[in-house]
Amino acid sequence: MSESFLRSTGRKVISRASAKELGAVNTLLVDVEQRRIAAVVIGRGKNAHLVEWAQISGFGPDAVMVVDEGALRPPADDREAAAIEGRLELVGKRVLSERGNELGQIGDLTFDAHTGALEDLLIGDLHVPAGSLLGSGSYAAVLDKSQEPS
């Protein structure tokens, strides 16, 4: 099933083991190279934690189920810390083609709720396959030239 980044933020996160509510989805950490969701970020600021995609037992329409509370961990490196602060956020990021022309901004992205694989990036009215994403950083997300209007 296809899931959207914007629709999934704010969704409650529940422990499968204890049925306790652990928080809400703040953002998703995307592995651009693998073009998949690497982790779910729960909570904000100092209370923010990550859950690896492998520790999620179900990314459902009403709740995100994690195996147990032990799956929550603090950020392990600079990249994860940056993700929690929203600095790696794909949604809202400027989009450049590899030819150096601006194509707009990422409005949303969709992913497979079972595997976490990225499906499409939404740029304005365009649905761009995630396979066109070459890289993303503090300045821009870069798409291959197939996405450039000729």
Partner: protein, 186 residues
């Protein structure tokens, strides 16, 4: 139809990595070899509050693409120290400046003075023409043949060039291919 921009429009553009989406620097100046009619590389400024000259330069060979909004490179390794750059990228450009040169046809007619370079957008920095201050007044654009003689004072171009003076970059973009075809270039 080719999309073109002037060297002045390239100054200040961010230099962004394709693989990382990071802005490494911004374009300070365009280094050009007028005899070969090609870009040699770009000198750079730092980005942000610590703006100032960047020691590293970007050789033309390492440019992935020059676009309307950014100069793209593959990654950080594309920027090199001036002493490691091929050719003349690291050396000052004063002695090979084409700006201000008089554009003379082989027949001895002056078309005007060079005011800027024109590059092909989306390419790795191909120079396809010049912006000139026309002899009759106003700005014009001329396509660039493969070989020209250039002295630092004057630039000699084929007579045909006089028929291809354009009023704007859009016109030049449309005229470049026909000009080259007429000269027997590809």
């Amino acid at each position: 139809m080719k999309l073109l921009m002037t060297a002045s429009q390239i100054r200040g553009l961010p230099v962004v990595t394709v693989r990382g989406g990071e802005d490494l620097a911004e374009v300070r100046d365009v280094i050009y070899d007028p005899e070969a009619g090609r870009l040699v590389g770009l000198t750079l400024n730092k980005r942000g509050f610590l703006a100032g000259r960047c020691r590293e330069v970007l050789p033309a060979e390492a440019i992935h693409a020059v676009g309307q909004h950014a100069v793209m490179v593959l990654d950080e390794s594309s920027l090199v120290a001036p002493e490691d750059a091929p050719g003349d990228v690291g050396r000052p450009a004063t002695e090979r400046n084409v700006l201000g040169n008089d554009v003379l046809t082989e027949g001895g007619t002056s078309l005007g003075k060079v005011t800027d370079l024109v590059l092909l957008v989306g390419s790795s920095g191909e120079v396809v023409g010049y912006q000139i201050d026309k002899a009759g007044g106003g700005l014009g654009y001329i396509p660039l043949p493969a070989q020209v003689s250039v002295s630092g004072v004057a630039l000699v171009v084929p007579n045909l060039t006089g028929d291809f003076v354009q009023d704007d970059l859009v016109g030049l973009g449309a005229a470049v291919d026909e000009f080259r075809a007429r000269l027997g270039l590809k």
